[in-house]
Symmetry: C2
Subunit: 324 residues, 2 copies
């Protein structure tokens, strides 16, 4: 079996080997640029590890894994336009480095190319895999729209928030695992369990991201602590705080959410103190643990020897443990 | 066999019957809005007429035809953002009626839904049809990028212009015809001839559009005469004029292209006069006639009785004759 590191190398080599047409340069260079920013390649790695659970060979699953990674990068490209983000992985975003029209159009082209890579699967699996991919892609758009809708809401329920991260983040991880499993020859039942594993794991990952923004180790997490607080982002922490706060805490939260960016350090400090008073860290950790446990329970139903599952269990556990 | 009007009714009824999820409203309402603006439905009509050449039943080709129409409407939605267009078919564009983020995201969702409709074809034809569709979709993006690149070029060659309209306009008409033919049971040879027919016809259509902008009957054409001239759009007419003009005519063209919008009527008058001096109308008409003749020559190779071809010949001839 392959290690995650070996798979990451295979994925990166494959991506680096993709040859795009030279012209029109402003269509294809941004795609190459985005793909060269060296993401974690989480989705293709999980997809190929899932394939590897059932099949010693993973070569035939590589194009689909690349298609999923390309789709993910397309969503980042367009999300960055919508968020007016200046940086992605430490580099200028496409709409800053080129311009907004180029970012829209090269994103559109990337989405097409994603489906093209994905559809290189064996013809007998194409209808099933394509259907899952397209449903997932639509759900990712729904999640992004919900996330944008949340910006203008004064409060959001826990259920709506979990539904948003299920759509925006979790379903693509779930589909990566399921598609990889199918390509490895898994039964629909086993592939369905891996979908469920990915869904629960994806939600746990996003909650952990929310938590690390406030309680992470800045030297490990690699982002500024309190970035979500500064941006008034409706995270699990803020939503839980707003739902659990008493009147004076709620007033204080809304007061600081309405301040401009000149008092950002104080804002992060005050809001973090409210989180501490409301025990938000523990509540979030409990939620993460619950998703995490349910995720691994899904794996226990697989018709695959536990020794073979160890690689994916270790890899995802390691991902969950980062910086906590 | 079906008449184009019958097919148009079938297409419009099918589009009107599509049920989108109610939520997130800002994702799905713009898609319904764009589809309700009653385009000419040229691509699905041609696709289904092409199917009907080979098969009395066209029902099984309807989903693919809807997918193509949806993809076309997606390109209009995103092109309108890039062009900062206020109106589309007399109604506010999505980015004006809602906002730019919603227009980007609902366009992305529309592209996904287009592939979903398209992939409802019989499984044995799916790989071939999907491959043609995805290649075409990428070419449409290339054409749009070339068109944007032309905006900042002082001059463009005839060859580059014809290549741009081949990509931006013609290939999707060609693919519509080819995919319809395949779904009707056509051989690859016949389907290839219909692709070629669509390609040449599409280029003729675009050249005719360029011509009508200046020499059309405003009461029939439905747009303001000279809109392309006012916007300095690199049309076949302007490109041919720039390539054929003497120094003083060239100077005059560049002078008027640099004027602001306050003198638009005079600008249209002066540039039209230069076109007249350079005999641009006849040159363009000859080019159209050449594409038109080549297109119909492609049809003559079809292994379909000429009586059966009459419907599509009459329909496309009628389209070519409008307002000329």
């Amino acid at each position: 079996m392959y290690t995650p590191e070996e798979i990451q190398t295979i994925v990166n080599q494959k991506i680096a080997s993709i040859e795009f047409p030279a012209q029109p340069a402003d269509l294809y260079l941004p795609i190459q640029y985005v793909l060269s920013l060296n993401g974690k390649r989480l989705r293709p790695i999980l997809s190929l590890m899932s394939c590897n659970l059932f099949s010693d060979s993973i070569d035939h699953a590589l194009e689909a894994a690349i298609g999923i990674e390309m789709f993910h990068n397309f969503t980042l490209l367009h999300d960055d336009i919508m968020d007016h983000a200046d940086k992605r992985r430490g580099h200028p975003t496409v709409h800053r480095k080129w311009n907004e029209n180029i970012a829209i159009l090269s994103g559109d082209a990337m989405q097409i190319d994603a489906v093209r890579h994905l559809s290189q699967v064996p013809p007998e699996l194409l209808p099933k895999i394509l259907r899952r991919f397209l449903q997932t892609a639509m759900e990712v758009c729904e999640g992004q729209q919900m996330d944008m809708d949340f910006e203008t809401l004064s409060n959001v329920s826990r259920e709506d928030y979990l539904e948003m991260i299920r759509l925006k983040t979790a379903v693509l991880l779930a589909a990566s695992l399921q598609i990889g499993a199918w390509l490895g020859g898994a039964s629909d039942h086993d592939a369905g369990l891996l979908y469920r594993f990915g869904l629960l794991l994806g939600q746990a990952f996003q909650l952990q991201d929310d938590l690390l923004d406030v309680y992470g180790d800045v030297s490990v997490f690699g982002k500024n602590i309190g970035g979500d607080i500064a941006a008034n982002k409706k995270t699990y922490l803020l939503i839980t705080a707003l739902n659990n706060a008493n009147e004076s805490q709620k007033e204080l939260l809304f007061h600081w959410m309405a301040t401009d960016s000149t008092h950002v350090l104080e804002k992060v400090k005050v809001i973090t103190a409210i989180y501490d008073d409301l025990n938000i860290k523990t509540l979030c950790e409990n939620e993460i643990a619950s998703f995490h446990d349910q995720a691994f329970r899904a794996l226990s139903g697989l018709s695959v020897p536990i020794e073979r599952q160890q690689a994916i269990i270790n890899y995802t556990t390691r991902l969950m443990k980062r910086q906590l």
